[in-house]
């Protein structure tokens, strides 16, 4: 991995193009992220924000260009890289007929994260014991999002890929989540956040990219 004045280079994209069917979801995209950074990715719907995060997680493959995460190809070494990556997606990625606590327990064992940390995060995000013990399907959209976020934030990973974290959440929870991102960056992690909440994330971001039609443009650098 490359060292620079900004720190250790964690993500590096050069000319990365991703085709979804015949649609260029990312087009010759250049993108960098360093350790201890909160990188803000903004852009309208369909501009390629989610595809960028999925590319970094090895869920989609670049047709051309180079993609390096921790100096490695995320598609070729997907499993090894994913142990170092947390991904908070649009979808909840939880089981409807398990309670919030049971979901946390399951992912703690399967993914090897710390259950106490996950429960602590869930409580910090405002979930009461009663909410954690209710079946996932009866929880509100915001409560569901909090459980997904608790797992993503509690995993001891070096890179956090966060897609629209503030959607569905109340103001207090948004603030707690933002604090979590800042704490993660201070601890040396890299946080890449795709969001429409320009004011909120701009205040946290150390680097900002604007996405448009699959292109990424660096608009602000520390």
């Amino acid at each position: 991995m490359t060292e620079s004045p900004n720190g250790r280079l964690v993500v590096r994209l050069r000319g990365a193009t991703v085709m979804l069917d015949r649609f260029p979801a990312l087009a010759r995209c250049d993108f960098d992220a360093y350790e201890s950074e909160v990188v803000f990715v903004q852009g309208p719907n369909g501009s390629g924000k989610t595809t960028l995060l999925r590319l970094l997680g090895g869920l989609v493959e670049a047709m051309s260009g180079s993609v390096l995460v921790f100096g490695r190809d995320p598609k070729a070494e997907a499993r090894a890289i994913r142990r170092e990556v947390s991904y908070l997606a649009h979808s909840y990625q939880m089981y409807e007929d398990l309670s919030g606590r049971e979901n946390l327990e399951f992912f703690a064992v399967a993914a090897g994260c710390d259950l106490d940390d996950a429960i602590e995060w869930a409580q910090r995000l405002g979930l009461a014991t009663r909410d954690l013990d209710a079946r996932f399907r009866v929880l509100s959209a915001g409560q569901r999002k909090k459980i997904s976020a608790a797992i993503a934030l509690s995993r001891r990973t070096e890179l956090l890929l966060i897609d629209e974290p503030h959607a569905l959440l109340d103001q207090a929870t948004k603030a707690i989540l933002d604090l979590g991102f800042t704490e993660a960056a201070r601890a040396g992690k890299t946080v890449i956040v795709a969001s429409h909440e320009l004011d909120r994330i701009s205040a946290l971001a150390t680097r900002r990219y604007r996405m448009s039609n699959g292109f990424a443009t660096l608009v602000e650098s520390p």
């Binding site: 994913r82 991904y87 399951f106 993914a111």
Partner: protein
């Protein structure tokens, strides 16, 4: 891998217990099949005894197919499978956990089905150990192929799974049917070559499934 497999199996069994898909959909179907056959053959015990192995395995195959479809649908809800993939969860553990859960669910169905056959067809079950062992092996064989094919055909339409599954698992079903035939006829010695074939097929399917499921999951 085994820790993940145990967690997956416990999770799938808990979800099945709460949703009760097998209980509400498969068991009534099993009951209807047994009763219809009993009436259809006019309670002629000789004929019923002859058709029992085939009837048992056709019914079990439908149950397995439903259990496999359900096991994969669980992972489609809220894209939970993407979560598993993104957390780098061991695909072999996922695969083994799913196989274990499906086999345990189907064993329950098979116990009910066997009891129904024994009572309604007046056909006592001999060589229970042989029948149970062959059922377990065949369930493993069908479940492993089913999970892999369900992963391959995901997003291509649900009707593809039964079309692909049956031809691939037909050797397993054929062997299991023959073992049951000889087991029920009280001629277990004749079942030995079929049992060996069944062990071979099921083990091959299991090993291939463990090896390829990671690729299927990524695809």
């Amino acid at each position: 891998m085994f820790r993940t497999a145990v967690a997956m199996a416990k999770k799938d069994l808990r979800l099945e217990w709460r949703a009760r898909v097998l209980l509400n959909q498969v068991l009534p179907f099993v009951f209807v099949v047994i009763v219809l056959f009993a009436f259809g053959f006019d309670a002629k015990v000789e004929i019923l005894t002859q058709v029992t192995p085939g009837l048992f395995w056709v019914t079990t195959f439908f149950g397995l197919e439903l259990a496999i479809t359900r096991a994969m649908a669980i992972e489609g809800e809220n894209q939970a499978q993407v979560g598993l993939v993104m957390m780098g969860v061991n695909p072999r553990g996922i695969f083994l956990g799913k196989v274990v859960a499906i086999v345990l669910e189907i064993l329950v169905l098979e116990v009910v089905l066997s009891a129904g056959i024994a009572v309604l067809f007046n056909s006592p079950l001999h060589d229970v150990a042989l029948l149970a062992a062959s059922a377990l092996l065949a369930d493993v064989g069908v479940a492993t192929v089913g999970i892999v094919l369900a992963g391959v055909t995901e997003g291509l339409g649900g009707s593809l799974l039964p079309l692909l599954l049956f031809p691939v698992v037909s050797p397993v079903l054929l062997c299991a049917t023959k073992v049951w035939q000889y087991g029920l006829d009280q001629t277990p010695a004749k079942a030995i070559p079929w049992s060996e074939l069944l062990i071979g097929f099921s083990l091959i399917y299991l090993v291939v499934g463990i090896l390829v499921y990671g690729v299927v999951l990524e695809g």
